[in-house]
C-alpha cells in the first residue's frame, strides 16, 4: 500500500492536458466576467442594493463602490493572464483572491458553480499549469517542462469527480426520486421550447429526468475515467449540460463543465488541440516539447502534496457537515451550501417583519422593498441566516431613527417542493435575541413532513 502510494507520487505524465485546462479555464473566466459586466449585473447586484448579506465571518467583505468595477477588471485581466500562462503564479493568486472577494460581497448571489470556480482556482495555485505551452515557459526555458507529476492532473479530475458524485448523492432523496420534485414543477413551465415543449407537460418526463439526472451525476466521473466509455461519457456530458442550458437559466456553468471534462482525455488528444491552436496562432509548439520532466525538490514536493491532500480531505468531508444539525436539511438549510446540492429544491418564502418598540408597545410592519432589491428579498425570505441578519440590520436602522428599545419579529411562510406553504420562523421570537452562529437555529419551526434519503 505504502509503496504503491509512493510509486503513484513518483509517476509522471504529459503536461499537455493541464495546459489545455488552464487555457480553457482562463478564457471561460474572462468570458464570464465580461458577460457579467455586459448584463449590468455589477450595478444591479453590487451597487444598487443598500444592504448586503454577508457570510458568517466575512462581514468585512463589501462592494467597493465604483472600485467594484476595477475589481472585475482585475479579475478579468488575471483570468486572461492565466489563459496565456503569463506570470502564472501571480495571475492565478490574483484571480482566486479577486473572484472569491466578489463572491463574498453578498451571499444573495451564492451559486454552487461560483464556489466551484473559487476552490478550483485555489487548487490551481498549487499546480504547475504554466510549465508547458505558456508565455512563462516560452520566455524562460529553465521553467519549461513537457512532463509533470501525475497527481497534478489527477487532482483536477478528482475535483470534478467530487462535484458530480456529491451532486448525485444529494439527489438520492424521496422528493427527487419518488415525487419528481422539483422537476415536476419546473418542466411544465418550459412548455414553449421547440420539439420538447409538449413532452415537458408529461409527468413521466419529470421522473425520467430526475432518475437519469441522479444516475448521470453518480456515474459520469467513472465513465469518464474508464477509457472504453470515455467518448460515450463525454457525449453524455455535452447532452446533459446543453439540456440544462436549454431548460434553466444557468449561465456559463454548462460550458465550463464541458470544457473541464476534456481533462479526462488522453495526452494525445490534448496535443492535437494544442497543435490546432498553434497553427491558428502560429506558435512553434515544438519549442515546448522538450521531453523534460518537472521534478520537485523533496521539501517543495512534500509541502505541495500535503496542501493538496489536505484540501481534498476537507472537500470530501465538508458536504457531510449537515449531519451535525437536527432537522430536515432542505428546510433549515444548515449545511446546505458548499455541498454540491445543485437545483435540488423549489423553495420560496414570504417574510414580513414586525418592528416593536418595547417601551411604547407601538408596532409596525417593514416594507422590505425599502431596503432590499427584489432578488435579495426573494433569497432572504426562505433562508434562516438571511432572515436573522436582516432582522439585525432593521434593528440598527430603526434605532438610528430614534426607536430605542426595539424588538424585531418575523411572520414568514415557506413552500418547499410543491408543498403548501407553512409558517417558517417562530413568530413570537424576538430575533434580536439571537446572533448568527454555526449552531442550530432554534427559532426555525419544524418541517412537519419527511424527506427520506441522503
Amino acid at each position: 500500500m505504502r509503496s504503491s502510494i509512493r510509486k503513484y507520487f513518483d509517476s509522471y505524465t504529459e503536461a499537455a492536458p493541464l495546459a489545455v485546462f488552464r487555457i480553457g479555464f482562463g478564457i471561460m473566466m474572462l468570458a464570464s466576467v465580461i458577460r457579467f459586466w455586459l448584463n449590468g449585473w455589477i450595478k444591479k447586484l453590487y451597487l444598487t442594493p443598500k444592504f448586503h448579506f454577508s457570510y458568517y465571518g466575512f462581514e468585512w467583505v463589501k462592494p467597493l463602490g465604483d472600485f467594484t468595477y476595477l475589481l472585475f477588471v482585475i479579475c478579468g485581466v488575471s483570468a486572461f493572464f492565466v489563459a496565456i500562462g503569463y506570470k502564472y503564479r501571480i495571475a492565478i493568486i490574483t484571480f482566486f483572491l479577486s473572484f472569491t472577494y466578489i463572491e463574498l460581497m453578498d451571499k444573495t448571489t451564492y451559486l454552487n458553480h461560483y464556489y466551484f470556480i473559487s476552490i478550483l482556482s485555489f487548487l490551481m495555485i498549487f499546480l504547475p499549469a504554466s510549465i508547458y505551452y505558456s508565455v512563462d515557459a516560452w520566455k524562460n526555458t529553465e521553467q519549461s517542462f513537457q512532463r509533470i507529476p501525475r497527481w497534478c492532473i489527477d487532482s483536477i479530475k478528482l475535483m470534478l469527480g467530487i462535484v458530480y458524485f456529491y451532486a448525485g448523492l444529494a439527489k438520492i432523496n424521496s422528493d427527487w426520486l419518488l415525487r419528481a420534485m422539483p422537476l415536476k414543477i419546473w418542466l411544465p413551465s418550459k412548455y414553449d421550447i421547440p420539439l420538447l415543449g409538449d413532452l415537458m407537460q408529461q409527468e413521466w418526463m419529470a421522473f425520467a429526468f430526475s432518475w437519469s439526472g441522479m444516475l448521470y451525476d453518480l456515474l459520469i466521473p467513472f465513465l469518464l475515467l474508464w477509457r472504453r466509455t470515455r467518448l460515450f461519457a463525454f457525449a453524455m456530458v455535452i447532452i446533459f449540460h446543453v439540456m440544462t442550458r436549454v431548460l434553466f437559466p444557468i449561465g456559463m456553468f454548462p460550458y465550463i463543465m464541458i470544457v473541464s471534462a476534456l481533462i479526462f482525455f488522453s495526452p494525445e488528444v490534448h496535443h492535437k488541440i494544442l497543435k490546432k491552436i498553434s497553427s491558428w496562432l502560429r506558435i512553434r509548439k515544438e519549442k515546448f516539447d522538450n521531453n523534460l520532466s518537472l521534478i520537485y525538490k523533496p521539501i517543495k514536493r512534500k509541502s505541495l502534496t500535503s496542501i493538496v491532500v489536505g484540501f481534498f480531505i476537507i472537500q470530501i468531508l465538508f458536504p457531510w457537515r449537515y449531519l451535525l444539525y437536527p432537522g430536515e436539511l432542505f428546510w433549515t438549510e444548515e449545511g446546505f451550501r458548499f455541498s454540491w446540492r445543485v437545483m435540488l429544491m423549489e423553495k420560496a418564502g414570504y417574510a414580513e417583519f414586525k418592528v416593536v418598540d418595547a417601551d411604547t408597545g407601538k408596532r409596525f410592519y417593514v416594507n422590505n422593498s425599502d431596503f432590499l432589491t427584489p432578488f435579495q428579498e426573494k433569497q432572504m425570505s426562505f433562508q434562516p441566516d438571511f432572515i436573522l441578519e436582516y432582522a439585525h440590520f432593521l434593528a440598527d436602522h430603526f434605532r438610528k431613527d430614534g426607536h430605542e428599545n426595539v424588538e424585531v419579529y418575523v411572520e414568514s411562510y415557506v413552500g418547499l417542493n410543491g408543498r403548501k406553504s407553512v409558517p417558517y420562523i417562530s413568530p413570537d421570537v424576538n430575533l434580536l435575541n439571537f446572533a448568527d452562529t454555526f449552531k442550530h437555529k432554534t427559532f426555525i419551526l419544524p418541517f412537519n413532513d419527511e424527506i427520506k434519503g441522503l
Binding site: 448584463n39 449585473w41 444591479k44 447586484l45 448571489t109 451559486l111 458553480h113 438520492i172 424521496s174 426520486l177 419518488l178 415525487r179 415536476k184 414543477i185 419546473w186 411544465p188 413551465s189 412548455y191 414553449d192 421550447i193 415543449g197 409538449d198 407537460q201 408529461q202 409527468e203 441522479m214 453518480l218 456515474l219 467513472f222 434553466f248 437559466p249 444557468i250 449561465g251 456553468f253 445543485v342 437545483m343 423549489e346 420560496a348 418564502g349 414570504y350 414580513e352 418598540d357 407601538k362 409596525f364 410592519y365 417593514v366 416594507n367 432589491t373 427584489p374 432578488f375 426573494k378 411572520e411 411562510y413 415557506v414 413552500g415 410543491g418 403548501k420 406553504s421 427520506k452 434519503g453
Partner: protein
C-alpha cells in the same frame, strides 16, 4: 464497475424502501395528461375580461366628461349631484381595470395618473389659483385623476352650495374639466390599444420567458394585490407600516362613504379574474384557477378562493367610510389587513411557485 453496481444496488434498495410512501400524491389519477393551453387562457383574459372591462370603463369616463361639461357650463347643485353620482360609478368601474397595468397602460403610467392618493390638495389649490399647470407631467401624478375629482366635488366646501359657489370662478371650472377630460383621454388611449393591435400582441405572446404575457400579467396581477389592494386601500390608512393610522391615505378621502365600496369592487374584480369569470358575468373560462387545477393544485385554488371569502366576510365589519373606520376603530382595519396578508402568501408564494413563474426578480443565473 463494482462501485457502479453497488450504487445501483443502493439506489434500488432506497427506492423499494421508500416506495410504500408514495401514497398517490404524485399520481394525477387522470391517466392521461394533456397540456394546458396558455394561449386559450390569454384569449379568455383578453376577450372576455380585459377588453370588455376597458370598453365599459371608456363609456363610463365619457359620461364623466360629458357631465363635467354640463356642470361647468351650468354650475348648479342639481348638476353637481348628477356629476357626483357619475364620479362614484366611474371610480367603481375603475376598480375593474386598475390591475391591468400592461401595454399602453404601463407605457403611459395610466394607473398613476388615474389614481395616486393621497392627493396633493394644497398643490391643486395653488394650481387652480394660478391657472397655470400641465397635467401631462409625471410630477403632477398627485394632482389629478379620481382623487382630484374627489376633492373638487366634495372637499372644497362645507356645503353643496359652498362647493357650487366655487365654480363661479373660471379657474375652478377649467381645472375640473381638465382633470375629467384627461381621465377620459387616457382611458381612450388604453382602450384603443386593446381594441387595436395590442390584443393580438398580448394573446400571441405565449412565451414562457419573463417577457411572455402569462408571466408579465401574473407579475402585475400579484403586485397589484400586494401594493394597491392590500397596502394602498387598507395598509397605509391603517398605519401598518408606520404604527400610526393615517386617515388621509384612504382612497376617496373626501367623498367619505365611497371607500369601502371601491375596496369591495376591487376584491370582487380580482377574484373574478382569478376564476376566469367573464366581465359580463356570463361564463367562466381558462384562468389561474384552471391552470392550478391542471397542475394538480386544486387544493391551492380552493384555498385562494376560500381566503377571498374570508376577506369579504371580514369586510362586512368595515364602516362604509374607511376613513371613519380608521378614526374610530382601527383594529377592524388591521384585521382586514391580516386577512389580505394571508392571500398575499397564497398568491405570491404558493401560486407563483406552483406556476413556476418568477416574480420580476433580477435576471441573474440560477444553479
Amino acid at each position: 464497475m463494482i462501485r457502479i453496481s453497488k450504487i445501483l444496488l443502493i439506489a434500488t434498495l432506497i427506492f423499494t424502501a421508500c416506495s410504500t410512501e408514495d401514497d398517490g400524491s404524485a399520481v394525477d389519477g387522470k391517466g392521461e395528461t394533456t397540456s394546458f393551453d396558455r394561449g386559450a387562457m390569454l384569449e379568455n383574459w383578453a376577450d372576455n375580461i380585459i377588453v370588455p372591462a376597458f370598453s365599459n370603463f371608456k363609456s363610463s369616463t365619457q359620461q364623466l366628461e360629458d357631465l363635467t361639461l354640463a356642470f361647468t357650463a351650468d354650475p348648479t347643485e342639481e348638476n353637481l349631484l348628477a356629476l357626483r353620482s357619475q364620479f362614484e360609478s366611474s371610480y367603481i368601474d375603475f376598480q375593474t381595470v386598475a390591475m391591468f397595468d400592461l401595454g399602453k397602460a404601463e407605457e403611459i403610467n395610466y394607473r398613476r395618473f388615474m389614481n395616486t392618493y393621497p392627493l396633493a390638495a394644497s398643490e391643486v389649490d395653488d394650481k387652480i389659483a394660478s391657472g397655470s399647470y400641465n397635467l401631462q407631467l409625471p410630477s403632477s401624478f398627485k394632482e389629478q385623476g379620481f382623487p382630484a375629482l374627489d376633492y373638487l366635488l366634495y372637499g372644497i366646501g362645507e356645503t353643496n352650495a359652498e362647493i357650487v359657489g366655487k365654480y363661479s370662478s373660471e379657474n375652478y371650472r377649467n381645472y375640473l374639466l381638465d382633470v375629467s377630460k384627461r381621465i377620459n383621454a387616457l382611458t381612450a388611449e388604453v382602450n384603443a390599444s386593446w381594441q387595436g393591435d395590442y390584443r393580438e400582441t398580448f394573446v400571441a405572446n405565449t412565451s414562457s420567458s419573463s417577457t411572455g404575457s402569462v408571466d408579465k400579467l401574473t407579475n402585475k396581477y400579484i403586485m397589484y394585490f400586494e401594493a394597491f389592494l392590500r397596502s394602498g386601500k387598507i395598509g397605509f390608512p391603517s398605519g401598518v407600516f408606520t404604527g400610526t393610522p393615517s386617515p388621509i391615505n384612504v382612497e376617496a378621502y373626501y367623498s367619505n362613504d365611497l371607500s369601502k365600496e371601491l375596496y369591495m369592487k376591487a376584491l370582487e374584480s380580482y377574484l373574478d379574474f382569478f376564476i376566469g369569470r367573464s366581465f359580463n358575468g356570463g361564463q367562466t373560462g381558462k384562468s389561474f384557477k384552471q391552470y392550478l387545477e391542471f397542475l394538480d393544485r386544486e387544493d391551492l385554488a380552493t384555498d385562494i378562493i376560500n381566503q377571498f371569502d374570508v376577506i369579504m366576510t371580514q369586510a362586512t365589519n368595515l364602516n362604509t367610510s374607511l376613513k371613519n373606520q380608521v378614526e374610530t376603530n382601527n383594529t377592524v382595519m388591521l384585521a382586514a389587513y391580516d386577512e389580505l396578508q394571508k392571500a398575499v402568501v397564497l398568491l405570491k408564494l404558493d401560486m407563483v411557485q406552483a406556476l413556476s413563474i418568477s416574480i420580476n426578480y433580477v435576471d441573474s443565473d440560477g444553479d
